[in-house]
Symmetry: C2
Subunit: 205 residues, 2 copies
Amino acid sequence: MVEGWVTGDEISKWEQRFRAALINSITGFKPVNLIGTKDASSGHNLAIMSSVVHLGASPPLVGLVIRPDSVDRHSLRNIRAHGCYTINHVTESFYSKAHQTAARYEDSVSEFDAVGLSPELIEGFEAPFVAESPVKLGMTLVEEVPIKHNGTHFIIGRIDHVFIDAGLVGEQGDLDLAGAGVIALSGLDRYFSVNFLGKLPYAKP
Amino acid sequence: MVEGWVTGDEISKWEQRFRAALINSITGFKPVNLIGTKDASSGHNLAIMSSVVHLGASPPLVGLVIRPDSVDRHSLRNIRAHGCYTINHVTESFYSKAHQTAARYEDSVSEFDAVGLSPELIEGFEAPFVAESPVKLGMTLVEEVPIKHNGTHFIIGRIDHVFIDAGLVGEQGDLDLAGAGVIALSGLDRYFSVNFLGKLPYAKP
């Protein structure tokens, strides 16, 4: 049983799957996104990720951590080859399909076909969006930062296209992700819907 | 009104506060963390952030984006000076206090005192934890990566201490953040509790 204070030495002795589950949970709730890329073999690649992070609003920059394992590596190869990718939000209505994109399909298989989601293309942009998603971002690769300590890659991208379903953006720029059915993830495999608690005013001393 | 497809050129023309609110919301739900640091002037600094991202489980590495504005800069200065910081989860019971740490207090003021949270110290670690938090991480700075495109900083840290309240970790390493009352954030100021939807099996083709 793990509770109370634990040291890094103890963490390193945890069984591998237990440690992966717990450390993947320990940073808090995560966004759930499908990353779409153009793929030379299957046409369209799609992979679920939970490592998107806001970098700045002006210019609109987004970070994405990509791991070196085989599933994510297809996405990384395609982002490098074409310089673009899409970030698509996952809703309660199709999260089990989104989760299934994590399976290690053969190169010739498009995850869109395998899990039953629809690729959507727009003029002048090579990477596929997810038609079912209420909020979609078309990203241009700006820089790839190698994280030497564990072989992951920090992908910095600029938002060049946005799709937002009607009625989701308020007058102050608030985006109603909850109203769109967008969900959150904990760890590797536990999905959560959300309840609005409150909007707090700009903090002053 | 913003809906349907929008280009990057149009985004750049949005009014500044509207753009900040919408782009801060557009990556999905975010974790809510209080970053604790040792401060030469006030003793203990505390700042709310929503840019923590999992980097890997072995070694246990966590990324943190720190912006160049004045509030976050205190945290960055202290992390550089002492090489350590804490990541503390925020629950429904004290999220308004956590939000208030974003105010621009004078250097001599500890946010712990200003908002009414309790610093907790452990032997051999300089940065303060938040006593009220059910899950706390003691981080050692590994590397600071400058993001040249917008002047932010990507802080890579190793988890060297963990505190987890009793009863939160399951046999498979699942961490019950929802049971602990941990919440999520959308945008800059909208807080959400979560509802468990389901745990999905490891995906296979």
